[in-house]
């Protein structure tokens, strides 16, 4: 049978419509980067909204930004940077056939990703307690504008800051949850020994997604937490 000869000659992970593993990997990589391009535009709309309102309500947004916890934000940035390291180490381990190191780094990524969401949850809880969640119970009275101790921030302008804070960090957190799902699947696949130096595209593509979500946070952190911090 020519069929069995073909499968014997081929890498079992090579799909029949690709000529060689390299071509299959490059196609996956290109597709992933196009997807990340759409994600840039997806988040880009929110960043544009941020710029427009930040310009219009400069002082009010500075006052609202000052109520965020920089320590928690910076910790979360560090947690995500560490998770990016474990992801790149996982890709390296998959390419150099180190199964235990691969599984260890995938699990470390899951722990760090969950820690990020936990810290985010603590921050969200604080917003509810302080009535900083946009809606009927929103309160932002008698908060002075940075640099203008005699002026109070406009609560409805601050509310827009918090609305955008929740949409941007919420959408980012949603991406983190999806990423954690992807990495659970990758861990199971790695546990079954599916990845070899010849075939590790899922680890590589999952890694691209994770790093992209990290880059989004790298911009969210200064824009939301660090504006008008100075006394």
């Amino acid at each position: 049978m020519p069929d069995s000869q073909l499968t014997a000659a081929h890498n079992p992970a090579l799909l029949h419509h690709f000529a060689e593993p390299r071509q299959q990997r490059d196609a996956a990589s290109l597709g992933m980067w196009v997807f990340l391009g759409t994600e840039i535009m997806f988040f880009g709309g929110l960043f544009c909204t941020y710029l427009v309102y930040r310009r219009a309500y400069f002082g009010d947004w500075g006052a609202a930004s000052k109520t965020l916890d920089v320590t928690l934000g910076a910790t979360n940035t560090a947690v995500l940077i560490c998770s990016s390291l474990t992801v790149v180490l996982a890709v390296w381990a998959a390419q150099t056939c180190r199964r235990k190191l691969l599984i260890g780094n995938l699990l470390a990524t899951l722990v760090l990703g969950t820690a990020f969401l936990g810290i985010k949850g603590i921050e969200y809880k604080e917003k509810f307690e302080k009535h900083h969640v946009p809606g009927a119970s929103f309160q932002f009275n008698n908060v002075t504008i940075p640099g203008h101790p005699d002026q109070y921030a406009n609560p409805s302008h601050a509310e827009i800051f918090f609305a955008l804070y929740f949409v941007m960090t919420g959408l980012h957190a949603l991406h983190m949850i999806v990423g954690i799902g992807i990495f659970i699947w990758l861990t199971v696949m790695a546990w079954k020994g599916r990845f070899t130096p010849e075939y590790n595209t899922p680890v590589e593509m999952g890694g691209l997604y994770w790093h992209f979500v990290d880059i989004i946070w790298i911009y969210l952190f200064p824009l939301l937490y660090l504006i008008d911090r100075h006394p």
């Binding site: 490059d26 990589s29 290109l30 980067w33 196009v34 990340l36 391009g37 840039i40 535009m41 880009g44 709309g45 960043f47 544009c48 710029l51 427009v52 310009r55 219009a56 920089v70 910076a74 940035t77 560090a78 940077i81 560490c82 990016s84 390291l85 992801v87 790149v88 180490l89 390296w92 390419q95 150099t96 890694g207 691209l208 790093h211 992209f212 990290d214 880059i215 790298i218 911009y219 952190f221 200064p222 824009l223 660090l226 504006i227 008008d228 911090r229 100075h230 006394p231």
Partner: protein
């Protein structure tokens, strides 16, 4: 892909330390009063970090396929159209 396994490990750890240092730097810079340059400094550091992640963690530097680089450049170009054209509109409105 990884011709020199140990050298790429060194690179990854070096990038990791740099990214953590930049996070500390941006928090420290935010506590200084630089006037309008506070935002510029914060965004410059963020862009530097993002470039490091893209080039070395996402392996864009070693990407052999020109098409991948084209997709990245095109995405950033369209993002710039979105941001620059929108802001040039809002920044030049004389009515309110």
């Amino acid at each position: 892909m990884s011709a020199h396994p140990s050298s790429s490990l060194k690179l990854y750890f070096g990038i990791w330390i740099t990214l953590l240092a930049c996070t500390g730097l941006t928090v420290w810079a935010a506590s200084l009063d630089l006037g309008p340059f506070n935002v510029a400094v914060a965004l410059t550091i963020a862009t530097f970090k993002a470039i490091l992640v893209a080039l070395f963690f996402m392996h864009l530097k070693g990407a052999s396929e020109k098409l991948t680089k084209l997709v990245v450049v095109a995405s950033l170009f369209f993002l710039l159209i979105l941001l620059v054209l929108s802001m040039s509109d809002y920044a030049t409105r004389t009515w309110s």
